[in-house]
Amino acid sequence: MTIQFNDETFRDDYTFRNSDWAIKRFPFPFHEDSYMYSVNMEQHRGGPKGSVYEKRFDVDEHYISEMRDRALVLAEDPLRCQSLPHMTLAGWDLLELIMVSKSEDYPDLFELHRNGDTWRWINKPLGIDDTFTFMDEASLPYGPMEYITRQAQGDYAVLDQRENNLWMDAGMVTTQADWSLDFDIGMNFFEWHAPVPMAHEMGVFKRALKFLLNIQQGSPARRLNWTMTVNPLLDTSPENYHKWGVQKTTLTPENIGRKQHLRDELQTFYRLPRSNALVFPIRCYLIALEDLVTVPKWGRRLHRVIRDLPDELATYKGFIRNRPMILDYLSHYDDGKPTSPGIWPDLDTEPPLQKYVSRFAGNR
């Protein structure tokens, strides 16, 4: 199918919306009615047709608008894209991976024509038609990592592998869940995850690192992660927290369904061929609660997950102050029915909401 690209914003007037298509394919991150940290890795080898797992680098209706938002962030703060000097080769690896994947997976949108080292890249949605020399930085308007990640949704952390560890030595980070590339660049796997509560003690990072160090070329992996964001704001950066933090205080029982979003991250992991680096794309998907609860299974389950989440995690994920209001809203979409295992919406098999209670009932 041809994608209809939205013209929308992720800031100021927040015109971002998900179509019915985007709602049904939202990568809901909970496979059961509770949540705790786990390594939860699986092979990234496609998935159901139309799902966000199907292609190597998912392109959806938000593509053009997300790339416009990225350009705005970079114009304001170029430090969101950095690459330590030894990471240029990994940048070329990444450029090749994305160009080859997108041109093969979306031939109607992207074309790559290679004639020796002379490459022609056509990106139809963004109106780009560039010819350059592979491995010659002077032939591109930006470094190779920046060039291609200005044309690819999601953040990209490029990790050098040495001393049995992974080092955050390059990245493009403009849609992050409150972490700073500029601060974390150069850190190893345990250092950049240092602020995460509970998971170190559980041994999650040791197991995850062991898994990631062994990822082979041609065998990418994936997992889902999540948080909550008020307004469809992609750039929830620590850099701008003094500007957006106050938006958390604007929720009311009347606007919460529209303003409170579940923020999902589809994280994938690819070994790069020349540099042996690991690239870690972190793709952000946003969905308003009022859209999410149109899938009865997801409404039931999100209520239970948020209700039972340990306070440390709700604090770390930044929604502890709004949790009571979120729960009040979601409780009207949980009729106590059991839910089917797995993340898929199961619209044809899951029962509709049994006893719909107006979401304003509690306030009248």
Partner: protein
Amino acid sequence: MSKFDFPPSIPSRPVYGTLEPRKGTQHLMIADGEGAEALLDLASVAPEIIAQAHVIFIPQGAAALADKLRATGPAILHIGPSYPATVQRIRRVLQDTVMGAQIYLAGTEGLIGQAMNEALQAGIPMEAIQTEHRGSVARRVQCVHCKGITEDVMTDPFICSHCGLNLFVRDHYSRRLAAFQGVCIDAEDPGEVPEPVELYT
């Protein structure tokens, strides 16, 4: 009391040891303030190492310690007025290090972090760098918002010396910046800034 036991913290936060004499082809020692006492302790157990050492000391008011260091007879002793005034010399000396050089860093976290950064950039392996904290527990903090670094932060929260935001001090630490991270404390409740308390109290 110049020694301080830091409470356990997150994995990015540096931990410090106690300087020990090690065999090496060269010995470069960099200290500030009460860090000189760590070098004096080292000299008392290994005078032969001090006799070979290039010592760079930034007294920060502890001038008497400079005299004590001189009395231990280091091969070279340089007294610098401040870290920024001394960093060019540190870089130059690091250029001359050879395989097997040992680096000893002692004093405040700011001095240790910045000098370690220089040593690592000069290609010194981590295993050849020892650290010992002495003296002030003040922190060097980067404002995550404006990127300015405030030296000698003693309270939490504090006011960024560059942009004026009220910042709380995280334990998250960047070796590249040799700084802790400071984040706006009243972003969600503008104007509601708790009374500053001294660090570790």
